[in-house]
Amino acid sequence: MDTNIANSNLKSEDYFINMGPQHPATHGVLRLLLTIDGEIIKKVEPDLGYIHRSIEKMCERDSYQQIVHLTDRMDYLSSHINNEAVCLTVENALQLEVPERVKFVRTIIGELTRIASHCLWWGVMGMDIGALTTYFYGFRDREMINDIFEETCGARLTMNYNIPGGLMFDIHPNFVKRTKDFVAHFKTKIPEYDKLLTGNVIFQKRMKGVGILSKEDAISFGASGPVARGSGYSCDVRKYHSYSALDKVTFNEALKTEGDSLARYEIRIQEMWESLSIIEQLIDNIPEGEHKVATNAVIKLPKGEFYQKVETARGELGVFINSTGTKNPYRLKFRSPGFSNLSLLNHIAVGGKIGDLVASMATLDLVIPDIDR
């Protein structure tokens, strides 16, 4: 009897499995069609559309003030930065100069949002690869930031604090104190994160050399944010196209050349330190002044095309507005960082195991509503 099946004339087919849309490691309703050979991945096909809400089309219906609150629902973990992107685009189109106070507050809250997003990512990524404790620790520290947001903006996640022309209302009197408390608290927590997870030998073995992305591929796939910087591609929008009060601070762009999952992880830990330093440089110097400039009740943009990009916690978010001079945009397009970062998943996961796919997907830090919109 011939026991060697591979050499026999039996017909063999690829094995398909569905990962998602309700899979805990996909962090949302992402469906991955996996073609596997044993446990080796031959192909990964992301299938989107499960949370499509046609936000871009809804923007064509809404006024420019109303668009802002829809962007909360895209990348909900960096909602303030999304709001800021739309407001900056509208303000640039109107050639409106916002007060210095607004710029400072926007940058501080933006950096707090980035830390909150990275905290959640750190917790969830630990959980993805089997370390449940990180989940609780990440959420514990994020809770302090959520309290700051709730006190100042009125909401914890979908803040809608920006309006074209400034901020909806002034910062809360406790804002500065709470932020300083948080910075002091969090400085003792990042070393704990390192001790608990980064140094762990199991974690190191799961992450090192997994999901390698070269610099050339990062550029050609259009990757941005920590994913691209983990491959050595310097692309921080805050550095190269500085906006709000970011030109008044000095910070280093976290950069690594390994391109594996561990590099992407370390970039985000490094970014938390940099965000803390940006907040520290700004928090004592918030200038006095108005929290908004008056705009018309009905904002009409001049005819033309306007583009503004910002750095969210996941990468480069671009807002493109095509205006015909009416009170609604003729066309509005978001360039979301998650979509480009997802497109390289097939490239980095092929040849690895299913467990490695989870690890590389966790370091891409995907937020599905951002990809689907």
């Binding site: 809404d62 609150h69 404790t133 620790y137 006190e151 903006c153 809608n160 909806m168 762990n200 009740a297």
Partner: protein
């Protein structure tokens, strides 16, 4: 040798991680952020700016300050606010004036963006800090904000 080296390194990082969790375990007084909801309902107070639901405050004479200008209805992105109004004779001046009949608020459709409250010129509507909004039927989420028989405060103009 690297086999034993790996074991040593593994135990070392394991203990390093456990020292972190052990400290948190022993110091749990300082690290607790968990809310014992719903047991702490009496003491749980939301922040003043928290967006729970839109309300229309009335004074002791059952008077509100909504002029029926409909700015909130226009500002709302998803049609959560409907204002039914007509022109009634103002008893003081004897002239016909726009007055609200019903200020209807669909809490189930509201995204808590706060644009209506920004738009209101007379501060007739405000945020309430109520957060327990579950009901058995969604029709209970459609609310009429002005109380029955209420009228506009004298002297409020938009």
């Amino acid at each position: 040798m690297s086999y034993f080296g790996d074991i040593y390194k593994g135990i070392k990082t394991l203990l390093a991680g456990m020292s972190v969790t052990g400290k948190v375990f022993l110091n749990n007084k300082n690290n607790t952020i968990t809310q014992q909801y719903p047991d702490n309902r009496e003491t749980l107070k939301m922040f003043d700016r928290f967006r729970g639901e839109v309300v229309m405050p009335h004074d002791e004479n059952n008077e509100h300050s909504c002029t029926g200008c409909q700015k909130c209805e226009i500002a709302c992105p998803n049609g959560s606010i409907e204002i039914i109004w007509d022109r009634q004779v103002d008893p003081e001046t004897g002239k016909k004036k726009k007055m609200i009949d019903q200020h209807i608020y669909h809490l189930g459709m509201c995204t808590m963006c706060g644009l209506c409250i920004e738009a209101c010129p007379t501060d007739a509507i405000l945020w309430a800090q109520n957060y327990e909004n579950s009901v058995y039927d969604r029709s209970a989420l459609t609310k009429v904000l002005n109380q029955p028989g209420s009228k506009i405060m004298p002297g409020v103009e938009d």
